[in-house]
C-alpha cells in the first residue's frame, strides 16, 4: 500500500507520524467497499513511481514530498478520467539517498518489482539523469523536472542538431536561455557599469554556463570578468576577489557548489568587494532560506532566480492547491519557510496527471510516452508545453528574478519578492529591485 512505501523511506518516525499513519490506514479501511473499487482492482490502477532525494545531502529538495503526497492522495482519491474509463492512481515513493548509483538502482527495482506504468523524478541531474536512463533502457515513460534541460538532454548523450535519441523520457525545466533573458532584464533594473565578475567552478554546471551563458551576456552588452575555473571546496578566494576589485565589477554572478558561496562572500566582505558590488546574482546557491539564514546580515539584499515562488498565479491541479496554499501548507507541515522545490514537485505531479489524462490508454506505455511528447499542461510553475520545446523531449519553464530581503515581519527572517518577470511574463512583480548593500 502506498502509505507503507511513503513511510519506509523517511528517517525520523515520530509518534505523530505513527498516529497519522494509523489514522490514514483506519480511514482507508473505513471507506465503504463501493467507494474504492479502483484501488482493489490491479488493472484499473495506474502505478506511478516518484523518485527523489529524501535523505542525504540533497534531502532538503524532498522535504515537501510527504506533504504533497498527502494532498495528492486526498485530491486524486477518485482517480483520473481517461477517455470513458476511470483509473485509480497509486504513488510509489523511492529515495535516491542523494546518490546517482542508488537512484539508478531504485528506478530499476521499481520498474522490475513494482511494475510502474510511469516514473517521475526531480531535483538535480544527480537524481534525474540516472532515473531517466534506467527508464529509457526499460521502456518506461518518465517525466522529470528541476535540472537544467541541457544537462538532461546533452548530459545523457544527445548531440546538437541530431534527432533525439530518447523515446521514453521527457523533461521540463529552465535552461541557459532562461538565465540569459532573466539576467539581461534583472541587471538593468539597477544602475551599474555593466561589468560582471563571474565565479564559475570547474564542474559540469560551471563549464556549461561558461560556454553557453557568458557569450549571451556579452551580446546583451555586459563586460565579463572571468578569473577562470576553480575547484569546488576552495577555501581562499583572494585571487578572484582581487581581480573583481581591480576591474571594478559592480555586478557579480556565480553558479557555485552551494557551501562555497558563504566562504567566498565573507571573504569578499573582508576584502572590500562586497562593499563595491551592486548586484549579487546567485544561482544554484541561495535556493533555500536556510542558506541565507546561515549568512546572517550578509545575506540581506542578495539576488537570485526562482523556478517557483509562492506568489505564482497558478494552481496545482493534482493537489488542488494554489501556489500560496502550497507554500502555507508546506510551512505548516514541515515547520520551515517554503522553498522552490515543493512547488516544482507539485508541477511534476500536475504534468503527470495531465499526461495520463490525455493518453488513449495509460496502461499502454507507448501510448503514454506519445501523450507526453505533445503534452501541454497548466501546472504550479505555469504552462508546460512539449510542443514548443527547444529540443524534442524537453520543454522550458520560466525563471523569475527574486531578491532576498529582510522580512518586514516574522515568522521568517527573509522575504523573497519577485523583482523581474522578463522570462515569465504571466507572473506579477511583488517588489522593486534594490542594489545590494552590506548588511541590508
Amino acid at each position: 500500500m502506498s502509505t507503507d512505501k511513503t513511510r519506509t523511506n523517511t528517517n525520523t518516525f515520530t509518534r505523530r507520524d505513527f498516529v497519522r499513519l494509523a489514522g490514514g490506514a483506519a480511514a482507508i479501511l473505513g471507506v465503504p467497499a463501493t467507494a474504492r473499487p479502483a484501488i482493489a482492482q490491479g488493472d484499473d490502477v495506474i502505478r506511478v513511481g516518484f523518485i527523489g532525494s529524501r535523505s542525504g545531502p540533497l534531502g532538503v529538495f524532498g522535504e515537501g514530498d510527504p506533504f504533497l503526497v498527502d494532498k495528492f492522495n486526498a485530491n486524486m482519491a477518485d482517480g483520473v478520467q481517461v477517455g470513458d474509463k476511470r483509473y485509480g492512481i497509486q504513488l510509489i515513493l523511492g529515495d535516491t539517498q542523494s546518490d546517482p548509483v542508488r537512484a539508478s538502482q531504485v528506478a530499476k527495482d521499481m520498474i522490475n518489482s513494482d511494475h510502474v506504468d510511469m516514473m517521475l523524478t526531480s531535483a538535480t541531474p544527480e537524481n534525474v539523469n540516472p532515473v531517466a536512463d534506467a527508464c529509457e533502457a526499460a521502456g518506461v515513460p518518465c517525466l522529470s523536472t528541476t535540472a537544467p534541460w541541457e544537462s538532461f538532454y546533452f548530459g545523457r548523450g544527445a548531440k546538437p542538431g541530431q534527432p533525439s535519441p530518447f523515446k521514453w523520457t521527457y523533461h521540463f525545466c529552465f535552461g541557459v536561455g532562461n538565465f540569459a533573458t532573466l539576467y539581461a532584464d534583472q541587471w538593468s533594473l539597477v544602475e551599474t557599469n555593466r561589468k560582471v565578475g563571474v565565479l564559475l567552478p570547474n564542474d559540469a554546471d560551471g563549464n556549461a554556463i561558461r560556454g553557453l551563458l557568458l557569450p549571451e551576456l556579452e551580446k546583451a552588452g555586459f563586460t565579463i570578468v572571468d578569473p577562470g575555473p576553480y575547484e569546488n571546496g576552495t577555501a581562499d578566494f583572494s585571487t578572484q576577489i582581487n581581480a573583481f576589485k581591480q576591474e571594478g565589477c559592480e555586478i557579480f554572478n556565480t553558479f557555485p557548489f552551494p557551501p562555497d558561496f558563504p566562504v567566498f562572500w565573507r571573504q569578499a566582505a573582508q576584502k572590500g568587494f562586497a562593499q563595491q558590488a551592486k548586484i549579487v546574482q546567485m544561482a544554484k546557491a541561495g535556493l533555500f532560506a536556510a542558506e541565507l539564514e546561515a549568512m546572517g546580515a550578509l545575506g540581506f539584499g542578495l539576488h537570485a532566480g526562482a523556478y517557483w515562488h509562492k506568489d505564482f498565479p497558478f494552481t496545482s491541479s493534482s493537489t488542488g492547491l494554489t501556489c500560496n496554499e502550497i507554500a502555507a501548507g508546506y510551512e505548516a507541515s514541515v515547520k520551515k519557510q517554503w522553498n522552490q522545490q515543493v512547488g516544482a514537485n507539485a508541477s511534476l505531479l500536475d504534468a503527470a496527471i495531465a499526461g495520463l489524462a490525455t493518453s488513449d490508454n495509460p496502461k499502454d506505455k507507448a501510448a503514454l510516452a506519445a501523450a507526453l511528447s505533445t503534452l501541454k499542461a497548466e501546472t504550479a510553475v505555469g504552462l508546460v508545453d512539449f510542443t514548443s520545446g527547444p529540443v524534442p523531449n524537453c520543454a522550458t519553464t520560466g525563471l523569475v528574478g527574486v531578491q532576498w530581503v529582510k522580512a518586514a515581519q516574522g515568522p521568517w527572517e527573509f522575504d523573497l519578492p519577485i523583482v523581474s518577470n522578463a522570462d515569465h511574463a504571466a507572473v506579477p512583480l511583488t517588489g522593486k529591485m534594490t542594489p545590494y548593500v552590506l548588511q541590508g
Partner: protein
C-alpha cells in the same frame, strides 16, 4: 603575491588545528582515525546546538563543547579504538570509516540536511577585517583562528613538557612497552590522547562553521586537508602540524594566483612531493644514507637475483 602569502598563512592556522588531533592520535596511539573530519563536524553541530537551542553565547558554546567532545573521545577510545588497535592495520581503518558513516547519518537524522553556519551568530566577526598598508586586508576571523591555533599548540606543548600526563604521553609514544615497564598505564594515556584529539577536532569544526557552511556530510573533505597537513608537517610532530598547515595553506593560495584551478592542485602537489621525499629519505636511511641509496641499483640487484635462485 604578498596578499596571497598572508591569506595562505592564516588559512594554515585552521589546517593546523584540524591536523593537530589527527597527528596526536597517530603519534601517541598509532591509530589513524578516518572519522576525524566527521568528529569536527559533530563539534560544530554541538556548538550550534549550544547557541541555538540552549541560548549560550558562541564563546561559551565553544568552551562547553570542548569537554563534551573530550569525553566522547575518551569513551570512543575505551569502547571502540582500543579494541580495534590490537588487530592489525586494517581493522582500525574499517572501524573509523564505519564510525564516520554512522556519525554522518546520525547528524543527518538529528539536524537534517540543511546547511548551517555559526557565522550568523558571531555578527560581523565572520566577515569584517583590519585594513593594512599596500591594500592588504586581514580578516578578523582568520587572524583569530590562527591565534587560537598557536595558543592551542603552545598549551599542548606546555602540557607535554611539564605535566605528569604529558611525560606519560611522550613516554608511551616513543616506546609503549618500556613505558609500561616504568609504571605508565598506556591504556590510560591512549584515552587521554584520544580525548585531546577529539576536542581539537571539535575546535576545528567550530572554526570551520564560522568561516563556511557545514552539513552532516562535510567531514570527509576536511579529513583530506588534515591528512595533508599532517604528512607535510611530519607525523606525530606537534609544531610540524602548524608548519604543515601553513605550507599547505600557502601552497594553495599561491597556487591560485597562478591559476584559479591550482588552489587544491598546488596543495596536493606539495603533499605528494613531501610524501615522495619522505619515502625516499626513509629508503635512503635503510641503505646507508643518500649517497649510498643513489648507487642502490648496482649494489643490491645482484644479491636479489641470487636470493631468487633455489
Amino acid at each position: 603575491m604578498l596578499d596571497a602569502l598572508i591569506q595562505g598563512i592564516l588559512l594554515g592556522g585552521y589546517y593546523a588545528i584540524l591536523a593537530a588531533g589527527l597527528s596526536l592520535m597517530f603519534g601517541v596511539v598509532r591509530f589513524i582515525n578516518l572519522a576525524h573530519g566527521d568528529l569536527a563536524i559533530l563539534g560544530a553541530y554541538l556548538v550550534l546546538f549550544g547557541v541555538e537551542i540552549l541560548g549560550l553565547s558562541p564563546l561559551a558554546a565553544v568552551l562547553a563543547m570542548l569537554p563534551v567532545m573530550a569525553l566522547a573521545g575518551w569513551i570512543m577510545q575505551r569502547l571502540l579504538f582500543a579494541r580495534a588497535l590490537g588487530s592489525g592495520v586494517l581493522l582500525p581503518l574499517l572501524v573509523t570509516f564505519g564510525l564516520g558513516a554512522v556519525l554522518q547519518n546520525t547528524m543527518f537524522g538529528l539536524f537534517g540536511s540543511d546547511t548551517r553556519s555559526l557565522g550568523n551568530h558571531i555578527g560581523s566577526l565572520s566577515w569584517s577585517s583590519w585594513q593594512m598598508p599596500f591594500g592588504i586586508s586581514l580578516g578578523k576571523l582568520p587572524v583569530i583562528t590562527f591565534a587560537v591555533a598557536v595558543a592551542a599548540l603552545v598549551a599542548l606543548q606546555l602540557m607535554l613538557s611539564f605535566t605528569k600526563i604529558g611525560r606519560a604521553i611522550r613516554a608511551t609514544s616513543s616506546d609503549p612497552e618500556a613505558a609500561e615497564l616504568s609504571g605508565v598505564n598506556a591504556r590510560k594515556v591512549h584515552r587521554a590522547a584520544a580525548a585531546i584529539a577529539v576536542a581539537l577536532a571539535g575546535l576545528a569544526g567550530a572554526f570551520l562553521a564560522m568561516r563556511a557552511l557545514i552539513n552532516p556530510y562535510a567531514g570527509p573533505t576536511q579529513l583530506i586537508f588534515a591528512f595533508e597537513a599532517v604528512v607535510i608537517g611530519g607525523i606525530g610532530s606537534l609544531w610540524g602540524t602548524l608548519a604543515g598547515g601553513i605550507v599547505l595553506g600557502v601552497a594553495q593560495s599561491l597556487g591560485s594566483t597562478f591559476s584559479a584551478q591550482w588552489f587544491q592542485l598546488a596543495g596536493h602537489l606539495v603533499f605528494l612531493g613531501v610524501l615522495g621525499a619522505r619515502l625516499y629519505a626513509a629508503h635512503a636511511h635503510h641503505h646507508g644514507g643518500w649517497r649510498a641509496a643513489l648507487k642502490l641499483p648496482r649494489t643490491v640487484q645482484p644479491r636479489a637475483v641470487e636470493e631468487d635462485l633455489p
